[in-house]
């Protein structure tokens, strides 16, 4: 599903990514572990097509991430750290926009809001910071994308919402959705494979083995 060959990214005088080779199969779940300084966020942003690679090639679903950037975006959903502009929309209206623009049923918007513990009715502007941080995650869940990229997805969730989202992700993986979770720490139990980034390089690819059930919050955070 995702093939990365010789990916580098230079940014001014720094090199956040210094030669990444990685292959991720359809329906696979991968945890990317490392700090932002190790290139974790940059890798996610490149996969999300928010920023182009400096060199190397990336193919998602057989499409080149640079040459076919807008077609790749239809395959990928990204829940990152970037704020969402409220524009006086209600939560459910924003989620319906994402679903509708991606050709998905708008019914998924309410389900995604419930999953992350958001009430769909209030205006986005009325949400506190913590609740507002859940919105990109809900948008990714409602997108129907083949590849879901999650940057610190559980940071704003309470225990119940975390469990619900994990259940959803495990079920989505069984349907063939690929997801990559980037976090400071190991997201044990949720992902089949862990990729550890240090100074922009993969230092420790490992197979953790797929769980046959959704992990609990304790399993997720405790590793």
């Amino acid at each position: 599903m995702i093939t990365i060959n010789g990916l580098t990214k230079t940014h001014g005088h720094t090199t956040p990514l210094a030669g990444i080779d990685l292959s991720i199969a359809r329906g696979e779940s991968v945890a990317v572990v490392g700090s932002q300084a190790d290139g974790r966020t940059m890798l996610m942003r490149i996969l999300a097509t928010l920023t182009p690679p400096t060199s190397g090639t990336i193919a998602i679903g057989g499409l080149d991430i640079v040459a076919d950037v807008f077609r790749v975006r239809r395959l990928v959903a990204y829940a990152g750290l970037e704020p969402i502009h409220a524009n006086r929309l209600r939560v459910v209206e924003y989620l319906r926009l994402v679903a509708g623009a991606r050709g998905q049923s708008s019914a998924g918007a309410c389900i995604a809001a419930d999953l992350v513990g958001l009430n769909g009715d209030p205006s986005i502007e009325m949400l506190g910071d913590g609740l507002r941080e859940r919105l990109p995650l809900a948008a990714a869940l409602t997108s129907g994308a083949d590849v879901i990229l999650l940057e610190q997805p559980f940071r704003a969730l309470d225990a119940l919402a975390t469990d619900r989202v994990c259940d959803w992700l495990v079920a989505a993986r069984a349907r063939g959705t690929t997801f990559i979770v980037a976090d400071d720490q190991r997201v044990a139990g949720l992902c089949e494979r862990t990729v550890v980034l240090r100074s922009g390089r993969v230092v420790e690819p490992s197979a953790d083995g797929p769980p046959d059930r959704a992990p609990s919050v304790g399993e997720l955070v405790g590793a």
Partner: protein
Amino acid sequence: MMRAIVLREALVAARRPALVGAAIVSATLLALFPIAWGVRGVPLDGASLYDQQFRLEWILALALLPWTAARVIATERADDLAGLSVAIAMPPSRVLLARLLAATIASVLVIGGALPVIISAQQMSAISSSRVIADQLGLLAFALPSAVITVWWMQLTTDRLVGWMGAAATTVILVLVARLGVATMNRAAVALAFGGVAAAAMLLERADVWWRYLSERAS
């Protein structure tokens, strides 16, 4: 799929009080004109009340249409536009096309809000309906370039006030230039509408290049 983003831009515009406010201000000022000056209008020339009110309508349009568009359109620009494009899997050009539609429709509604007052002036001045229709169609055609100029400006600045002032100044200059080249305001409006289509096409074509990715600073 385009429907979703058009619906969103329309919703954003409809939720902002500026749209209703601009329509009320436009209609009220036009209605107050005969009250302030009497049905003979400003005693500067021999023009009828309708002629003078039509001039006032143009002056109001030059200021109010960019203001309305700047106030009602959604706020994403540059990096935020790239982020939205990723979130909804739609090129930035589609988002801006929907925004242009919303801004144009909002401008048309402001012009339409003043129509009852204009028709009253026509009745009082015994002006033919065909002339009023031609005048109003010219003004409606002007809604497009006004919206395009404002959306351009709002891509350049985060400040709605700066965007409005820049768009209003640009619009005034272009109207003056167009007026120099053609005999009537209606023809100038049509010429500007063609220019607006060209400017919109250029904006949409460049949008997918300029705002395809986050800026280097943001990434």
